[in-house]
Amino acid sequence: MLDVIEITVARELLVLHPYRAVYWPKNNSLMVTDLHLGKIQHFIKAGISLPSHASMDNFERLSSTLLQFQPERLLILGDLFHSDYNSDWRVFSELRQTFAAVQFDLILGNHDSLDSKLYADNKIDVYENLKIGPFLLTHKPLEGSADYNIAGHLHPGVKLYGQSRQSITLPCFYFGSRQAILPAFGTFTGVYKLKPEKEDRVIVISSDHLIDVTPEEA
C-alpha cells in the first residue's frame, strides 16, 4: 500500500493519497478533481496519435482508491470529462455501476459540457458548488469565502530548487490558510506553477510518493 500523508485543515483530518485523491474520514468521502476523462480519446479522434490505453490509468487509480477507502460519497470537484462524448464515458459508466453503492457528486467544471442526461442516467448529482461541514467545495478557487474553500481547476504544481541550480516541477496538494487547491487527478493534464506563500502547506507528488515540501520556519 502506498504511503499517505495526514493533515488537519479547518480542524478536520484529511488523508492525502499519492494517486491525487483526498479522503475525509469524518465525512467518509473521497475528493478528486480535474479527471479530464476522455482527453486522450479526444486527441486521438482529432487525428493525434496517442497511446489509447493511457486513459485506463485514470480508471485504475479511481477504482483502487475507492476500494481502499470504501467511502460513502465521491466528491468530484469539476472537469470530470474533458470534452465531447466519446468511448471513455462508457468505461466510466461501467466503473459507476461497479461502485453503485457510492454516492457520486459532481461540481460542474468549465470542461463539463456533456448532456445532463448522461449524469442523470449514471446517478451522478450535479452541483454548482457544495457546502459540507466547514468546507465550501468549488471548481474554480473562490476569493474571500467565509468557509474554507477546497477547489481544483488550476492543476497546481510547484517548482523545487536544489543545490547547484537543479530544479524540478511537480504536481502538488496546496493548503493555504483559507483555501486548498487539489492536484488534477487525470493523466495527460499538465501542471500550472503556483507561487506559495509563507505558512502554506505544499505536498508534492513524485510518481507514487508524497513529499511534504512545506518550507520550515526560518
Binding site: 489509447s52 495527460f188 509563507k198
Partner: protein, 816 residues
C-alpha cells in the same frame, strides 16, 4: 543522323548560345551536359558561383529542343531556400529565350499565391522551381500522378545543405515515389564539397543504382576558388581578453575594412551578437548610418528582401548578418567578408568566404576576427585546413519515423497507398533501408490509429478502400495535415509590429514576456518601446534610447567541428616544436609561452590535464579540443566515473577547447588516472547513467512530435473546441514515457539526442585517442590561458548521481 552526330549537334546549339553571351563553357559544364544527354544520373560537385546552374539547366532545355511538343511538367528543380528560386528562374528564362524554346519556368513555394498555385495544377510549366515541402504538398494533392506524368528530371540543388536535415529525408521520400511513377526519370544532385561525398550520393539515390543497373556519375568542377584569409590581430595582445565571444574590442579595425571595400558582409554567429554589433558600429562610426544594414532570420521577410536588394544594387556598403546569408542570392558587388568569432567549421568558413568574389575565377577575401586571444589559433588552423582541402561531413538523418509517419499521411490524403508497394519504395531510400517489418507495422499502426488497434474503429484516421488502399477518413484531419506538412518547426515567437501593423520580425515569447509596456529594447537595429502584447503580436513604437535590452534567441550553439579541432591540435603541436611560422601563432607567442610556463602545451601525442585549487574549490580541467558537445558528454562521463571512487558533486563547465569539473572537496585525480578513466568499454551504459538523457530526449521530442502531427498547430477558421486540443510536447513525452515506452517516435528522441546532442560517435573516437596519448598532469598556481575562459563560464551543468526521490527531498521550495 547517327546518335553521336545528333548529340554533338545538340551541344553545339548550347555552345553557340554561350558564345553569343561572351561565355565559354567550363569543362565540368560540358561534362555534365554530355552525361545528361546520354540519359545518365549523378551529382555535380561544384561550389556556388561556379556556373553550376547552367551545368544542368542547359541540357534539360537541349533535351526539350529535340522533342516536338513538351506538354506538361518536364523537370523539377529543388532548392533549399526560397531566396534562391528567383535567381534560378531568371537564369532559366534567359536560356529559354536564348535557345528559342517556348517553355515556361515557374516558382512554386510557400510565397506563391493560391491562384497561381491552382493554375499551375491545371496548366503546369515545363520547369518548376520549388522546395521539398512544396513537393510534399503536391503529393498531398488529389490527382498528383497526372501532374507528374511527363516528369523526366529532378534536380536537387544544394544537396549538401538539405542532406544534413530532415528536409533531406523529405526529398528521399519524394524521390522514392517519383522513381516508381516516372520510369524514365533522371535524377541529379548539385552539391558543394563535403567530407562524405560518397555517402551524399548514396543518400540521394538510395538503392536506385542497383535496380537501374547503370552507374551514377560524379561531375567535378575544376573551378578552384582562391581564398585570401587574414586574421585580425589585436595590437596589444597582452590586454586582449582571455575569454569572451563578442569581439567588440576589435571594432576599430573593422571600420577601415568596411570603408575600403566596395561592399562587405560581416558574419556573426548568433542573432543576439548580430544586433549588438550593429548597435556598436552605429555608436562608433555614426558616419556609416544608412550605409550599413542588418540581416538575420528573425527579421521580417520584407526587411530582409529590402536589405538583399540594396546590397545587390550597391545602395549599402555593409550588412551585418548571421547564417541567414550563408546561402542565397548572388551578391556580385560583395568584395569582402568578415567572420566574427570562430566559424566552428571549415566548410562554413569556406562557404562564407565564397560569398565574396562571387563569380567564376574571382578571388575571395575573408577576415577572421577572434573574440578572445586563444581563438587567434583558429585563424592558423583554418588556413591549414583549407590548404589541405579538409571539409566536414554532413550526417544524414536516418530512420526518422516522424517524417515517415507524416509522409504516409500525405499519401493517404491524396491518392491513398497500398501497404506493400509503399513499403518497398520507402525501403529503397537510404534513410529507411533498415526498417524491419515490425517497425513498419508499428509506424503504420501509429499513423492509422494511434498505435493501438484495439482502439475503437471510430478513432481510426486511415481506413482501406475497396482496392485495399489506405486513405484518410476524416476530411478535417486531411485539411489539417496539408497545412502542417514540412519538418521545420517554428519556435514560440511573437510577431513584432509597429502600431500601424508593419512587421519588423519575430522574437521569442520568453524575452518579450519579461518586458513591461513602456520598456525599451533593441531589435532589427532600432530602439523600440513595447506598447502592448496582443494575441501573437508585440506592438511597438520607435524609441530614442541608447540603452535597452537586446533579445537573445534560443538555439543551439554549434560545436567546433572535429576537422577544425584536429587542425588546432596540430597548430599547438607545431608551436611546441618551434616549427611554426604562422603570423597568428607568432602573435600569440606571449600567451602561449605563459601557458607553457605555468602549465604545458600538449603535442599531438599528449593530453593535458590541469588541477588547481582556489576560493571556489577544486578545479579539474581537461583539454581534448573536441567541441562543446563532446566536452559536455565527456565531462558528465568522467564525473560519473570519478564519483565511483569518491562521493563528489561536480559542476561542469566547457567551451570548444576543454571542460572543467569543479568540486568542493579534493578530486582523487592520480588514483583515477590509474583506473583507465578514458576507457570506451561500457561507454553507453556509463553515458546513460551519467547524462540526463531523458532531458535531452525531451527537448528533441518537441520537433518530432510536431513533425509527426502530435502537436495541434491551430487551424484557420477556428473550431469551437480547438482549445480542448492544446497540449505541449513535454506532456506528450510524459504520456509516451509512462504508457508507450517502446513507441518508435519516443525512442527516436533518444537516438537523436545520442547522435546529434552527445555526438556519441565522436566522443568514442576522442576517448580512444586520449587513451593512447600521454597524460600530462599539471598543477598551475592560478588559472592558465587555456583554463581561464572555461572557469569563468557561467553556464554550468550540474551533476549528481543520487536518486530522484532523495534529490527532491533535499530540494527546497523557494518563497519570494
Amino acid at each position: 543522323m547517327s546518335r553521336d552526330k545528333e548529340f554533338f549537334k545538340q551541344i553545339d546549339i548550347a555552345k553557340t548560345w554561350f558564345d553569343r553571351q561572351g561565355w565559354i563553357p567550363f569543362p565540368f559544364q560540358l561534362d555534365a551536359w554530355s552525361h545528361y544527354l546520354k540519359g545518365r544520373s549523378g551529382v555535380v560537385n561544384a561550389p556556388t558561383g561556379s556556373g553550376k546552374t547552367y551545368s544542368l539547366l542547359i541540357p534539360i532545355l537541349l533535351q526539350g529542343l529535340k522533342h516536338e511538343s513538351c506538354e506538361g511538367l518536364q523537370a523539377i528543380w529543388i532548392t533549399p531556400i526560397r531566396a534562391l528560386t528567383k535567381e534560378i528562374r531568371d537564369a532559366g528564362k534567359r536560356a529559354i529565350d536564348g535557345l528559342g524554346l517556348d517553355w515556361r519556368i515557374e516558382i512554386r513555394s510557400g510565397d506563391t499565391s493560391t491562384a497561381v498555385r491552382k493554375s499551375q495544377l491545371h496548366n503546369p510549366p515545363q520547369i518548376l522551381i520549388t522546395t521539398p515541402e512544396s513537393v510534399h504538398i503536391l503529393l498531398a494533392t488529389k490527382g498528383y500522378p497526372a501532374f507528374f506524368r511527363n516528369l523526366k528530371t529532378v534536380v536537387v540543388d544544394e544537396w549538401h545543405e538539405l542532406m544534413g536535415s530532415k528536409r533531406g529525408v523529405l526529398m528521399e521520400l519524394a524521390l522514392s515515389r517519383f522513381k516508381v511513377m516516372c520510369p524514365q526519370l533522371q535524377i541529379w544532385g548539385i552539391s558543394a564539397t563535403i567530407g562524405n561525398m560518397e555517402e551524399a550520393m548514396s543518400v540521394l539515390f538510395g538503392n536506385w543504382k542497383r535496380r537501374k543497373n547503370q552507374s551514377l556519375i560524379t561531375v567535378r568542377s575544376d573551378v578552384k576558388k582562391e581564398i585570401d584569409i587574414e586574421t585580425i590581430i589585436p595590437d596589444d595582445i597582452e590586454t586582449y581578453p582571455w575569454a569572451g565571444h563578442l569581439g567588440i574590442r576589435l571594432i576599430e579595425k573593422v571600420i577601415p575594412i568596411i570603408q575600403r571595400s566596395r561592399s562587405t558582409l560581416i558574419f556573426t554567429n548568433t542573432r543576439g551578437q548580430c544586433e549588438i554589433w550593429y548597435q556598436k558600429l552605429m555608436d562608433v562610426a555614426p558616419e556609416l548610418a544608412g550605409l550599413v544594414a542588418m540581416h538575420h532570420g528573425s527579421i521580417s521577410r520584407e526587411i530582409r528582401d529590402w536589405v538583399e536588394d540594396a546590397l545587390h544594387d550597391e545602395h549599402i556598403k555593409a550588412v551585418i548578418c548571421t547564417s541567414s546569408l550563408d546561402l542565397g542570392v548572388d551578391f556580385r558587388p560583395v568584395e569582402t567578408i568578415i567572420q566574427i568569432g570562430s566559424p566552428k567549421g571549415v566548410a562554413r568558413f569556406v562557404q562564407r568566404a565564397g560569398r565574396s568574389g562571387h563569380q567564376p575565377g574571382a578571388r575571395s577575401k575573408i577576415y577572421f576576427l577572434p573574440t578572445h586571444s586563444l581563438e587567434i589559433v583558429e585563424g592558423a588552423a583554418l588556413k591549414e585546413a583549407i590548404r589541405r582541402n579538409i571539409v566536414e561531413d554532413r550526417i544524414p538523418f536516418v530512420r526518422s519515423f516522424d517524417v515517415l509517419s507524416q509522409y504516409l499521411m500525405t499519401l493517404a490524403v491524396s491518392e491513398g497507398f497500398h501497404e506493400d508497394a509503399i513499403l518497398e519504395e520507402v525501403r529503397s531510400t537510404f534513410s529507411y533501408a533498415s526498417v524491419n517489418d515490425e517497425e513498419w507495422s508499428q509506424i503504420l499502426d501509429f499513423t492509422r490509429s494511434g498505435g493501438s488497434l484495439e482502439a475503437y474503429e471510430e478513432y481510426h484516421k486511415l481506413g482501406r478502400d475497396r482496392t485495399g488502399k489506405y486513405r484518410v477518413i476524416n476530411k478535417r484531419i486531411a485539411t489539417r495535415h496539408r497545412l502542417s506538412i514540412g519538418t521545420i518547426v517554428g519556435d514560440h515567437s511573437l510577431q513584432v509590429r509597429y502600431l500601424n501593423g508593419k512587421k519588423l520580425g519575430n522574437i521569442e515569447e520568453t524575452f518579450l514576456s519579461k518586458l513591461r509596456p513602456g520598456e525599451h529594447f533593441w531589435f532589427a537595429g532600432r530602439s523600440l518601446e513595447l506598447v502592448r502584447i496582443k494575441d501573437m503580436n508585440a506592438f511597438v513604437k520607435r524609441a530614442n534610447s541608447k540603452t535597452g535590452k537586446t533579445p537573445s534567441w534560443q538555439g543551439g550553439r554549434m560545436p567546433l567541428s572535429s576537422q577544425l579541432s584536429a587542425m588546432i591540435r596540430f597548430k599547438l603541436d607545431s608551436y611546441t616544436s618551434g616549427a611554426n611560422q604562422d603570423s597568428e601563432i607568432m602573435a600569440l607567442d606571449e600567451i602561449l609561452s605563459y601557458q607553457q610556463e605555468q602549465s604545458h602545451i600538449p603535442t599531438e601525442e599528449e593530453f593535458l590535464i590541469e588541477y588547481l585549487r582556489d576560493r571556489d574549490g577544486y578545479h579539474l580541467l581537461m583539454f581534448p579540443f573536441e567541441g562543446r558537445f563532446v566536452h559536455e558528454g565527456m565531462g558528465a562521463l568522467l564525473s560519473y566515473r570519478l564519483g565511483k571512487l569518491k562521493p563528489l558533486t561536480f559542476s561542469i563547465a566547457m567551451n570548444d577547447y576543454g571542460f572543467e569539473l569543479l568540486a568542493d572537496k579534493p578530486i582523487p585525480i592520480e588514483q583515477a588516472l590509474e583506473t583507465d578513466l578514458f576507457r570506451t568499454s561500457g561507454l553507453q551504459e556509463d553515458i546513460l547513467a551519467s547524462v540526463n538523457s531523458a532531458q535531452m530526449a525531451r527537448k528533441r521530442f518537441r520537433d518530432i512530435a510536431s513533425i509527426a502531427g502530435l502537436i495541434f498547430r491551430g487551424f484557420p477558421g477556428k473550431y469551437k473546441k480547438e482549445r480542448h486540443l492544446r497540449s505541449s510536447s513535454g506532456l506528450l513525452f510524459d504520456v509516451f514515457n509512462d504508457y508507450d515506452p517502446n513507441n518508435l517516435l519516443y525512442l527516436q528522441a533518444f537516438d537523436e539526442a545520442m547522435i546529434f546532442q552527445l555526438e556519441e560517435a565522436r566522443l568514442r573516437v576522442a576517448l580512444d585517442r586520449i587513451s593512447k596519448q600521454k597524460i600530462i598532469l599539471k598543477r598551475p598556481e592560478t588559472a592558465t590561458p587555456f583554463g581561464f575562459p572555461i572557469m569563468v563560464d557561467q553556464l554550468r551543468e550540474r551533476l549528481s548521481s543520487e536518486q530522484l526521490k532523495e534529490r527532491i527531498a533535499r530540494m527546497k521550495l523557494i518563497i519570494d
